[in-house]
Amino acid sequence: MTMALGMEAPAFDLPGVDGENHSLGSYGDAEVLVLVQSCNHCPWVQAWEGRLSAIARDYSERGVRVVAVSSNDVESHPEDSFDEMQARSVAQGFAFDYLYDEPQSLAHALGSERTPEVFVFDRDRRLAYHGAIDDNRDETAVGQHYLRDVLDAVLAGQEPAVRETPAVGCSVKWK
């Protein structure tokens, strides 16, 4: 079951494609923490990952940390293996951390269902927004920039006007 708005971010400690482990605490200095359930293989993820990098770059100086997490079963989807994650991160020049949730514990804690699926946690690490990055897979046809609007609101100490949207994408590949 997807975590409810206002709930605290779940603890995690997972390996990143940079070779380091990353925990909830290691992002303690971030004003806003954006966790994105993601993966390599899904065309819906691939359609959005450039925009996610742009958001990570545009908001990094304002204290926003964007962290993508792949929890997919690599037996059924070997394109999502850790080695493939490292390769894709380099090839696509990801501007965000990319963690491998092999035990699927973070995905279970978040209650993730889709890739990509966004969870925005405020300074107190309470869930401020859950859903899609924006309203259109086609970046030339986006009307509502949900994630950017949420980040602007949360950074300004305001409640986002839109706090939940349906995440559209591939299913999380459970073991």
């Binding site: 293989h41 899904c42 065309p43 819906w44 691939q46 359609a47 059924s76 989807h77 897979r137 559209v168 994408g169 591939c170 299913s171």
Partner: protein, 100 residues
């Protein structure tokens, strides 16, 4: 003309692809029956040479032959727009070409 529409419900791409297929068929005035095949297991994916959802074949030929050789799997299939962007459904042009 025989059209096969293979899909896996775990991927959200097939309704859009089916709608596009229907549009292209209507625009070209083609009346053809479409055989919908739901793929539900990896074994079926391998038996049907299903490289991902959705997969559309016209008289046995995949509308995107280059993508048809991917490993059979219960997954979302990747297509590409002419500008190289990744897309989860075939393009209108691919369908029109396949239906010529």
């Amino acid at each position: 003309m025989k059209i096969e529409f293979l899909f896996w419900r775990g991927c959200p791409s097939h309704p859009e692809a089916r709608e596009l297929l229907d549009e292209v068929l209507a625009a070209r005035g083609i009346q053809a029956s479409i055989e919908e095949v739901e793929v539900t297991t990896q074994e079926e994916a391998e038996r049907l040479r299903f490289p991902g959802s959705p997969t559309i074949r016209v008289d046995g030929r995949d509308v995107d032959p280059a993508g048809a050789v991917a490993r059979p799997a219960l997954t979302c299939r990747i297509y590409h727009l002419p500008d190289g962007r990744v897309w989860p459904v075939p393009t209108r042009e691919q369908l029109e070409e396949a239906l010529k």
